[in-house]
Symmetry: C3
Subunit: 344 residues, 3 copies
């Protein structure tokens, strides 16, 4: 159960080089994503109207995707443009999907085309902002997208799942505050005068700051429906104002999470980090991505096994504690979208 009349991240731009299409299932719909020779991005059903071959096995020629089986040339709009020795006017069209590329991400709208509005694609401060550097990756994980939202909107799991990198006991001990602000759910936690965990000690050192001093640490998770989560995270040398401290005594960044349903029980998880410090340092970007990739891989087994448990015991109700309120409120916004779709 996911909203369809909304934008999801379909791919990173670099996944769709000129010439080579990308097959990807999004919201249960197999799509062939491709970039025309002129650079324009398109998404059509991954189904050739000739004999049902997957178009994503083909190649791009001009602004068409040429089927790799018998050469049908599919246009960006799902209409056949040409086929050797054939008149194609009567060929049935396939679905094309509204798509939009911006700042390195490709967004797709799997629902009713008439309702698609590029203006509704969410904006984030770091996106396309040269003051930031972004690095990230993609994991395919076998769980309902909402389990991933729960995961990210309740960071007490860091204490347990990521105990060797970003977890620390104080996350458990300091209550979080959750509020709904229009179409956004915010859950935040501020810890004061604590020891920085290993990941943040590294970040302090990279910023030329001492890593053996106490720090103030914050986590501000912002959920935007259907499944985008930006988490402001950082530490400042203790007693300098914490989140409000001057940049010079801080290490801070955005954890970036775009969650795209693949099927009812699997996701494309686009994770990444956008940082404001040393944005030109590509080696640093790579190093952070590698570290983050390892940390985020630690969630996979937990999420997939949790999913299997929920499938095995569908009648069991889960608890909704204060730490779960971020996920609970996020699901309410999702349910609202689903209800709105059902009534149209």
């Amino acid at each position: 159960m996911f909203p369809l009349n909304t934008w999801y991240v379909a791919a990173r731009s670099e996944e769709i080089p000129t010439g080579r299409p990308l097959g990807r299932r999004i919201c249960n719909q197999p799509m062939a994503l491709f970039r025309s020779s002129a650079g324009q991005i398109a998404a059509v059903e991954d189904f050739c109207p000739h004999r049902g071959a997957p178009l994503s096995l083909g190649r791009v020629e001009g602004d068409t995707l040429v089927c790799g089986y018998h050469g049908l040339a599919m246009g960006c709009d799902g209409k056949t443009v040409a086929m050797p020795c054939q008149r194609v006017r009567g060929f049935p069209a396939i679905r094309s999907f509204p798509i939009h590329e911006e700042h390195g991400f490709v967004w797709v709208w799997p629902g009713d085309t008439a309702k698609a509005d590029v203006a509704a694609i969410p904006k984030f401060e770091w996106l396309g902002n040269p003051a930031f550097a972004y690095g990230g990756g993609l994991y395919n994980i076998g769980c309902d997208y909402r389990l991933m939202i729960d995961n990210l909107m309740d960071l007490t799991h860091e204490t347990y799942v990521h105990s060797t990198s970003i977890g620390q006991k104080e996350i458990d001990e300091v209550p979080c505050q959750t509020r709904v602000d229009g179409e956004q759910v915010i859950t935040e936690r501020f810890m004061t005068a604590i020891e920085a965990p290993p990941f943040w000690k590294m970040a302090l050192r990279l910023n030329g700051l001492p890593d053996e001093q106490l720090v103030d640490r914050w986590q501000i998770c912002r959920f935007t429906p259907p499944s985008h989560i930006m988490i402001e995270v950082g530490v400042a040398l203790a007693g300098q104002g914490g989140y409000a401290a001057p940049e010079a005594v801080k290490a801070a960044s955005w954890v970036v999470d775009f969650i795209t349903p693949e099927t009812d029980t699997s996701i494309h998880y686009f994770w990444g980090m956008a940082r404001k410090f040393k944005p030109q340092d590509q080696a640093l970007t790579d190093s952070i991505r590698e570290g983050q990739g390892k940390i985020f891989a630690e969630d996979r087994e937990m999420l997939e096994r949790q999913q299997l448990n929920l499938l095995a015991w569908p009648e069991r109700k889960l608890l909704m504690l204060n730490i779960d309120s971020g996920g609970v409120q996020s699901r309410k916004l999702i349910d609202h979208m689903l209800a709105a779709e059902a009534h149209t």
Copy 2:
């Protein structure tokens, strides 16, 4: 949906050496194929009447297949012959299948035994003919057998799937002609004064002919129900009569395709090539087989992904263009067989 009252290739002879049985599912029926000590071939259900063990895990003794679990000795007719310390007269029989070995191929009849007629096994000019050399292999592919028939009865796919070996643009550009000749469908294409693609340049050189001249090229696909396809292919130096040119200026052979349904959505695909030139040259046979094996492996992903697409979108009608007429006519003959079976 496949005809059952017909002969299919079950195995190459070399797959069933004396002593060691072969387990193979044919038309959804698990069979144990074995060769008696005297060399006689047999096929029975792969199910021991004692406790249901697969007989194909056993071994051959005399003209029986001895179960590898508790030693029941099964006869070629599906009746238990003996078992240590047991009287076996009352043991239930299992099915045996009409089977026939000829010229290196083992044919099986999965349907009504009473209707089996060895005389109905198809004959081909190259089979058992010392003027020809045959080399081939077996692929297990996850698709309906009719998708493989479509593939082979429309060689325009060579241009796309096999672009580096036997494909060339001219296949797309020259229309094919399809006709039904009694119980045979023939689809053929003749290209004149073209450059030979890499595979045929190699064949010309092997025949001591120049490979840089223009050639005439032909493809004559002959389908015999339920799923045998012989394709006459070749090139002649241009302007010497093409298909009718003298042997001395030609490189030609038969592509041999026996397609045996394993399940509703998988096949045993016996591919090979029978050639009339240098039939004694075993190294050449091996070299051709290796090359052909690589080319034919290129179809696998396309066919399996096409099958998945058709399962996902069962309601979609496929197009039937002129290039598809070979497959369309072949399916008509198959439907005719299926209808005949349904009325008996």
Copy 3:
């Protein structure tokens, strides 16, 4: 279909070290088995009442199993003991299972807790007896537990499945005798003046006995419901009394088989050997375990393929010959247990 109100072997003690839980599905129920810091063993459902995460991914602290996702501390009785910053009194309990550890084995009762009686755990002469050495292993096999019982209660299969180690033609030729003795099924076979097969020649040599003389050999299989089978096996130099011969001319041991249903069509198979000779010789124990492991692995393919056959042909009745009487009688005792459970 397996009895639930009974004890099964859940694990070897060494599989559950202090601190690290073990996830294992037993009789279709996913369990988290763990050992408290004080060494006490416990089994609870592998489902955290907070959000459904598998508890077996957590860690042990004191006498609780701490969930690896958000830190809920589960007690041995299935009641939540604590969770950071939470009041847990109202948390729903999960099932805990009666469990008992004895002589290196952990027994679990998957059924009605009120009926569990530790006194009903079966006793075996070799268990915890310093005159014996035990070595064994665990195989996960894809078959109904009763197929494994059939296998072990009819050793004629050794002639075929284990022909290179413990099989020999004489097993087939000497009839077995089966009797029911209260809650036990005994099937036995005595062979006199035969050549020892390779495994037993090795055992004779290890006992300082000649291996080229004829021997008397015995196999006494004892089944106790629901699925425990102890097999007395051995050889004595021929003519010295066979099974009753003095220890000095014998090589003998117990084959130990505990079969625990994992699902309807898979088992945890705890196999091993308990021997009375040279019990202090650990290298000998290891060597025997390695040899036995290889032999018992030979059954896997047969059992799994037999299971697939029975699923494919569910309507077929299996034969029940005299050699099958051990399995047949064992199933009667099981059916009796199942009927008793159905009436309560």
